[in-house]
Amino acid sequence: MSLTLHEIERLAQLARLQLTPEQALDAQQRLNGFLGLVEQMQAVDTTGVEPLAHPTAVMQPVQLRLRPDVASEPNQRAANQASAPAVEDGLYLVPRVIE
């Protein structure tokens, strides 16, 4: 399994990254190098093995909790927007989306 430059560019687009031609080549080389390492994994028979998403599920059943659906935090809009790169009137600014 090895990735073509075209596939690298497609991945970059999916990941919202913009690669220079040099970066794309570098990424292609390194990802393909890594995928070689992954081959050994494909040789392992995992038929019937349940994927482990939450590590301590091995120790005890994991039940994801839900909080009561009530407002527990005060309004902190000003504090939360203090590090935003562009805000106006409490709103985040983005480039025009609809002409």
Binding site: L17, L37, V44, E50, T56, V58
Partner: protein
């Protein structure tokens, strides 16, 4: 420098706590002394941010609590935080240009808990960008230098934390460990560090890398000091971290003064069975590391422990499994950096897509971009089953192998890393070589088990070597007990690099 001032930075957490209680020094005096040292040794690259006014205000508050008669093991004790834990009083960059100058509106739970216990924050510590790296050479703010040899890496990703503790810039620090990021730098710098069971310490306010693996923990100069910090850091945070364990808070120092159950004071580890995975002692590990690890194991044997060979047959598979699962989760977690709500924003974007793409490409470093691409690939349509699900199946097999091993032994020991610290830059151009060097720390990370690095002497050149101890789930207090018994009869953890 006066003799008294010299002593302050050589004192560990427990010692400082005792001196503060006895009013032999004050939190303000200790903080001032260590801030001066941080400036004097800024060339080590340990700190990314200091805020003297905030530190001294915290110290004054601790002094007021001490004056009012309040007592606590961390009250007035200074420490520093890895820069992936968000803090109100200091900027949080996660070692990335993406978050240059970012100020969190809240403190991470572990930061807040240590502050509530009276610990004084000295500053924020260097790390690999978004904790992705094992040499601290992937920080956007330059490398941190190993105080034992400044041309060597301190390890990573919690490199700044290990440097600060080893160079006596702070008695203790927080670190985070996703695939070895506490244990490996602790090993490379000769300090003690523990990654708790996944879910022990809240991930609230920990800048997310790989959420099913990320875990915070303490780094300090002894197991005793780590136990004091962990007791304050850990505990349920059920409303803020959905994977926080529902386990009551513990005093992790409770076994330190005791022998192993059933043992006597003269042979305090009698009855302890330590499993040595054959896969950790093979030709892949440098002989100087193996020699130091075996010497430390002999000390444990002299204390009464029994050593036995065990197998962790899927150790090698931990590398591909980890480097699929972690980048997959990272690619999802890091999608939040969009140039809109926080972080770097590209100048004059032509449209929304241009804003996203340029903001991210301009601000993420090369290793972060590689891992995002890899993660995007393994999660993409048509490959998800072959890579991500397969890796999670292997993750379960690795976790089951540990349970098989723990039927025969109480804890597992081996090297932390296959070599001592490498030269800065040696693996920057070859990330695959750096991935392979994570082999001994990744299995416990994937299984969510607690693991420690305990100083075990020196290898070539001479640079520190760490002994890794891996326990079963929730066994941190026992791990710390065994490490403490070793530190009672050895002095490796007390060694100070020359000039510090």
């Amino acid at each position: 420098m006066s003799a008294a001032a010299l002593d302050l930075h050589q004192m560990g957490v427990a010692e400082l706590g005792a001196a503060l209680h006895a009013r032999q020094t004050s939190a303000t005096e200790v903080a001032q002394h260590l801030l001066a040292r941080a400036h004097a040794h800024s060339g080590l690259g340990a700190y990314l941010a200091l805020n003297e006014a905030a530190t001294l205000a915290q110290a004054a508050a601790a002094d007021a609590r001490l004056s009012a008669g309040e007592r606590g093991p961390l009250l007035g004790v200074p420490l520093a935080h890895k820069d992936v834990l968000v803090t109100r009083d200091f900027p949080t960059t996660a070692g990335s240009n993406m978050l240059q100058g970012y100020r969190s509106p809240f403190d991470a739970t572990v930061v807040q808990r240590l502050a509530a216990a009276g610990a004084v924050t000295l500053g924020k510590l260097n790390c690999d960008e978004f904790a992705m790296g094992s040499g601290n050479d992937q920080s956007a703010y330059g490398p941190a230098h190993n105080p034992w040899d400044r041309t060597r890496v301190p390890g990573g990703s919690s490199g700044g934390s290990a440097v600060a503790v080893a160079a006596r810039l702070a008695p203790a620090a927080t670190g985070t460990d996703t695939g070895g990021s506490i244990r490996q730098p602790a090993s490379f710098c000769g300090v003690t560090g523990i990654k708790p069971t996944y879910g022990r310490c809240s991930r609230y306010g920990l800048v997310a890398y790989a959420s099913s693996l990320d875990q915070a923990g303490p780094m300090a100069r002894s197991a005793h000091d780590c136990a004091l910090l962990l007791s304050a850091m850990a505990g349920p945070d059920l409303d803020r971290d959905s994977t926080s364990l529902e386990q009551p808070p513990e005093d992790y120092s409770r076994y330190l003064a005791q022998p192993w159950p059933g043992a006597s004071a003269s042979r305090p580890l009698q009855g302890l069975r330590i499993g040595l995975p054959r896969e950790f002692f093979g030709p892949g590990c440098a002989s100087d590391v193996l020699q130091a690890v075996r010497a430390a194991l002999s000390e444990l044997e002299r204390l009464g422990a029994t050593l036995l060979d065990i197998d962790l047959p899927r150790t090698e598979l931990a590398i591909p499994a980890y480097y699929i699962i972690a980048p997959a989760e990272a690619s999802s977690n890091l999608s939040r950096f969009d140039g809109v709500r926080y972080g770097h924003r590209a100048a004059q974007p032509s449209d929304l897509l241009d804003l996203y793409q340029r903001s991210r490409s301009e601000a993420f470093g090369p290793e972060v971009q590689r891992r995002i691409l890899l993660g995007t690939y393994v999660l993409s349509h048509g490959y998800y089953d072959a890579y991500y699900l397969k890796a999670q199946q292997i993750r379960r097999l690795i976790a089951q192998d540990f349970q098989t091993a723990f039927a025969r032994c109480d804890l597992i020991a081996g090297p932390v890393a296959p070599s001592v610290a490498w030269a800065i830059g040696a693996k920057t151009a070859d990330p695959l070589a750096a991935y392979l060097a994570d082999i001994y720390t990744l299995p416990a990370s994937l299984a969510g088990l607690p693991g420690m690095s305990v100083p075990a002497g020196f290898g070539a050149d001479p640079l520190p070597v760490g002994l890794q101890l891996i326990g079963n789930y929730l066994s941190e207090a026992r791990l710390l007990q065994v490490a403490h018994q070793l530190q009672r009869v050895s002095d490796w953890h007390t060694r100070v690099p020359q000039g510090f």
